[in-house]
Amino acid sequence: MKRFFDAELETFRSHLILMGETSFRQVRDAIKALVEANIALADRVIAADDEVDQLEIKIDDEAIRYMNLRSPIATELRFVIVGMKASHDLERVGDEASNIAKRAVKLAAEPPLKPYVDIPRMAAIALEMLRDALDCFLHLDADKAIAVIKRDSEVDAINRQLYRELTSFMIEKPETISRALELMFISKSIERIADHATNIAEEMVFLAQARDIRHTDELKKSEPI
């Protein structure tokens, strides 16, 4: 039976999808700006962060209103709670994209330390994770969400490898320190984006199956390197 307030839930869902798409685009463009030393694109990413922030506010408002007035239960309750948490993660993804873009602007002024290989590769995995996590939201696909969670270790591994590599750069050539540090922070940002995608995926398992898999041994997310 259709209810008059179903439309509110649809609006909430569409805002979440929009926020997911916007955050995804922000990360993709930030990486592109870095690799191509494209300052104009980086500036656009920095400016567009506000779009993501405003969506978080809107989604929170809609979720609170829905919980307050519509007494959601069961799947609907999980959907509203998970939507709110996912929007918080997406807002942080947007912040990381903005951080990467700011560092891309600084790095664009100097010659590249080395060809960008690992960072785009790492970012591609993080973006896939983010996209898949958001897909689970649309299709309530817990298996896909678990697959996302398992990929987090790939990103962690590249981050650690980059950390070691950049550390040796700094030891050998102190003049590379400032650039190497920027890249380390960018690598860390991408690693954080993958963590947020993982959080969203965990929430999606809760949405689909009402099962809380956070902080359990069920999934060994990351092997120590």
């Binding site: 039976m1 209810r3 008059f4 307030f5 609170i64 209103r65 307050n68 007035l69 519509r70 007494s71």
Partner: protein, 264 residues
């Protein structure tokens, strides 16, 4: 003068349909309403909530002068419907009740056919042409989201309908005479959740056309259905605001305690 200052939630587009000012009501020596002042917005749903005996139903029944039928009732103060004083000596009470329809807690269809229940008000008003009656019966039953369920048995007894259908029939009967205001006194308290949901859905549709005042003990119902909510306690209007405000951030501690289920 106490009670003259009307409570009125902000941001109502149309002028108020009902204005209440300094309304006192006594059942014999017992005062049931104390200096109530509020405005009811047109084409909105206004919910009255509060514990039993708080005066919410009494106030509702003032709006079409149902309390006149109770012995020993004394009323002081003003109730204006569309600017007109409903206690004015020249006011025709029958006419008033046509403008202000009512739906009760327990559905009370007449022991007649479905068709005749809806046509009743029009027949009383002197309409007898079949085509005119047919049109209004269909429109009203559609308006009450009942048409599809009863169109093939319009001439069967209304008493054969389920409780939820009977209640929607009573709504169709109220709607048939095209009132300005529909008063609902706990319209879902005798219904199961599905029938309740249908009536709530209907309320949402009806407010496009009518001003609706609903008394309810069901807090979730008030939250779901209404635009504005008034909380009453011991015959006094304690707080009146947008429903969202009442359920999210009530100004009064008693309101908060009531909507949180801590008393009442």
């Amino acid at each position: 003068m106490p009670g003259r200052e009307a409570a009125r939630p902000a941001a109502t587009a149309l002028p108020p349909k009902i204005r209440v000012r300094g309304l006192d009501l006594f059942y014999g020596a017992k005062q049931a309403l104390h200096a109530v002042a509020l405005d009811i917005a047109e084409k909105k749903v206004t919910a009255f909530i509060g514990p039993s005996g708080c005066g919410k139903s009494t106030l509702l029944r003032c709006f079409n002068r149902m309390n006149d039928l109770v012995d020993g009732v004394r009323i002081r103060g003003e109730v204006l419907l569309g600017g007109q004083d409903i206690h004015a000596p020249n006011l025709d009470v029958i006419e008033l009740r046509k403008r202000v329809g009512m739906v009760f807690q327990k559905s009370n269809p007449f022991p007649k056919s479905i068709y005749e229940n809806v046509a009743y008000g029009l027949r009383v008003a002197g309409v007898s042409q079949k085509a005119a009656l047919d049109g209004v019966v269909e429109k009203s039953l559609r308006g009450a989201a009942l048409w599809d369920e009863v169109k093939d048995r319009l001439h069967e007894s209304a008493l054969g309908l389920s409780g939820g259908q009977q209640q929607r029939l009573c709504i169709a009967r109220a709607v048939a005479v095209e009132p300005d205001v529909i008063l609902m006194d706990e319209p879902c308290s005798a219904l199961d959740p599905i029938a309740t949901a249908k009536v709530e859905e209907l309320i949402h549709e009806l407010k496009k056309q009518f001003t609706i005042v609903i008394v309810t003990h069901n807090m979730q119902q008030a939250a779901r259905c209404s635009d504005q909510t008034a909380f009453f306690y011991l015959g006094k209007l304690i707080e009146y605001a947008e429903t969202r405000t009442i359920f999210m951030n009530p100004a009064n501690a008693q309101t908060e305690a009531y909507v949180s289920g801590r008393f009442g």
